[in-house]
């Protein structure tokens, strides 16, 4: 009996030591992605997976099928695995706001990327929001369009049709408002139609087909889409309809390789960069927080405007496009 007890004790000790030996010292970070049905989202996830490896953290992640209720459930699943921190790219600001409370209760730091939630970053366990300033980039794009129309017609005038991102998202609201802020000082530049294309290429094509039917040749000067995918869809519709006067009159946001290529070859007028590269900043913020350092509650990453209308712009855009080819980058 004593021998059996000794053997059991040894086994217990060995298993305990093994468990201790195998336990990872690396922090475990959970990531909640909105969906994986869009190149921008796939590139965002790839970026986070890459930086997790580079910065030495373990990563678990899931996706929410572009549904706020599903994302809440999926976040709960991730939190049950007791990660050291949660990164969330929320589908909608209000619907996903309860995640802040869930993190507060669990004592798990939360970082949101791309889009924010209603709660104030820097309060409770909501340590940081990392994004790009959608309002600013949309305003810059609006100013660029106004100047382009002035260069083209000798006065600030023109008609713009707009295709919006997903209804209700913070990105949509900010890209909508920022663009208008830039144009409000030019009363003869009108946004004559606006409609949601939900961020997808096929929807962008459909909305543009509708615009082309409603507005005959010569009545649209600029097509503004909130994302490259919709811009590329709109370009398809324009080509299919033979509306060549609109080739080179599209402006979009995101900066994927296919869209930058259309800028280089003259099919798009400009693309404002909103590349989904948040992984490095998000994971570094979490590591800093776990190390007891202070973290900026709001971090806005830089963005660029790609166009070919000036020598400087053309060199910059061509160089960036070549870099994408050389390094096989999607964004």
């Amino acid at each position: 009996m004593r021998r059996i007890s000794a053997v059991l004790l040894v086994l217990l000790l060995v298993s305990f030591m093994s468990a201790a030996g195998f336990a990872s010292d690396r922090p475990l970070i959970a990531f909640s992605q909105v969906a994986m049905n869009h190149p921008w989202r796939i590139a965002m996830t790839n970026d986070i997976v890459y930086w997790a490896e580079v910065l030495g953290v373990d990563l678990i992640w899931n996706e929410a099928e572009a549904d706020a209720a599903i994302q809440l459930t999926k976040v709960r699943d991730l939190l049950l695995q007791e990660p050291d921190a949660l990164i969330m790219s929320p589908f909608q600001a209000t619907a996903l706001d309860p995640v802040k409370e869930m993190c507060d209760e669990a004592g798990i730091p939360l970082v949101t990327i791309d889009r924010s939630i209603d709660s104030e970053p820097g309060t409770g366990m909501y340590i940081s929001f990392i994004g790009k300033d959608n309002t600013k980039l949309a305003r810059e794009l609006g100013e660029f369009v106004a100047n382009y129309l002035y260069e083209t017609y000798g006065e600030y005038k023109g008609n713009i049709v707009e295709i919006q991102e997903a209804v209700g998202s913070s990105a949509t609201i900010e890209r909508y408002n920022g663009f208008r802020e830039a144009l409000e000082q030019y009363p003869d530049i009108q946004i004559i139609a606006t409609q949601s294309g939900h961020g997808y290429r096929v929807e962008g094509t459909k909305v543009m087909e509708n615009y082309l039917e409603r507005f005959p040749a010569g009545t649209i000067d600029i097509v503004y889409t909130h994302s490259d995918e919709m811009g590329l869809g709109a370009l398809q519709a324009i080509k299919a309809a033979g509306r060549t006067e609109l080739i080179g009159r599209l402006v979009t946001v995101d900066g994927q390789r296919a869209a930058i290529e259309t800028v280089v070859n003259g099919e798009h007028l400009a693309v404002s960069d909103y590349a989904p590269h948040f992984g490095e900043a998000a994971i570094k913020a979490i590591l800093a927080y776990l190390a007891g350092e202070e973290v900026e509650p709001v971090q806005m990453l830089d963005s660029n405007l790609y166009h070919m209308t000036t020598d400087e712009g053309a060199n910059f855009t061509r160089n960036y496009y070549n870099r994408m080819l050389a390094e096989d980058l999607f964004y």
């Binding site: 590139a43 790839n46 970026d47 997976v49 890459y50 490896e53 580079v54 390789r257 060199n315 061509r318 160089n319 960036y320 070549n322 870099r323 080819l325 050389a326 390094e327 096989d328 980058l329 999607f330």
Partner: protein, 251 residues
């Protein structure tokens, strides 16, 4: 009346063909290595670095998911990278050119990148015999190279993978390997079981010129035939008096 239409039609066709002969075709993209260092000037300080990387990079999948990427370090590319790093400017360009001329006279440099999705053990360049060849039958085997530690990379088409970058230089018996007469060069990778080649072709212009000669010849031929046909129609058209006689005879 019909003859009139034929004549106008032939004239339009003839004019269109003559105009098409005069149209300048687009400048073909030709890969041209810099072989005369005297050509390097201040305008090269503004060259697009990544554009040159794209031009001089060759990619090839090897066996067992190993990927190969080779960049020939053309002197213009080296200059562009130095300009990006801020180590060469207009003031130091002459010194840089002299250094490069001396360096390329004894060695031909490449960056060889080996990558694999997961297995860093397979990224060893020593597993390969690598030979530099050109169209004059010259061959050099690589012995001088230095590699980095395996680095995690990410790309659009491959996701995450590990890569080792090797700075490689083929010692070329005291002269510049590429000169203005070079038609192509290639690197041959041989691991004893498989042989792979990557080639830089410097002669696409020849093919384009040949193609243009063929097109021009065809256009001239068509023009001559059309003009001949028109002339034949005009010469053989029935005279009005003969037609009248024929009509009267048939009445």
């Amino acid at each position: 009346m019909n003859t009139h239409f034929v004549r106008i039609g032939v004239m339009i066709t003839f004019l269109a063909l003559v105009c098409s002969l005069g149209l300048a075709s687009e400048e073909p993209q030709v890969l041209t290595p810099l072989t005369d260092f005297g050509e390097l000037g201040t305008e090269d300080l503004a060259t697009n670095y990544y554009g040159l990387v794209v031009d001089w990079t060759r990619r090839l999948p090897l066996n067992n998911n190993l990927q190969l990427e080779v960049v020939y370090l053309d002197p213009r590319l080296v200059l562009a990278s130095e300009v990006m790093a801020g180590t060469v400017s207009e003031e130091t360009l002459a010194d840089f050119v002299a250094e490069q001329a001396a360096a390329y006279a004894v060695g031909t440099p490449f960056i060889i990148k080996l990558s694999h999705d997961s297995n860093t053990e397979r990224l060893n360049l020593a597993d390969w015999k690598i030979t530099l060849k050109n169209d004059r039958g010259e061959e050099y085997i690589l012995t001088d190279y230095q590699g980095s530690v395996p680095q995690l990379k990410t790309s659009y088409s491959r996701g995450n993978f590990y890569q080792v970058d090797y700075n490689a230089s083929f010692p070329t018996a005291g002269y510049q390997f590429l000169d203005s007469a070079a038609n192509w060069m290639k690197l041959v990778f041989d691991n004893g079981r498989n042989v792979y080649e990557v080639t830089w072709d410097f002669q696409p212009q020849v093919a384009v010129q040949e193609s243009e000669i063929f097109q021009t010849t065809m256009k001239i031929l068509i023009t001559v035939l059309t003009a001949g046909l028109a002339l034949a129609l005009l010469l053989t058209r029935p005279k009005a008096s003969i037609l009248n006689e024929w009509n009267q005879a048939n009445k």
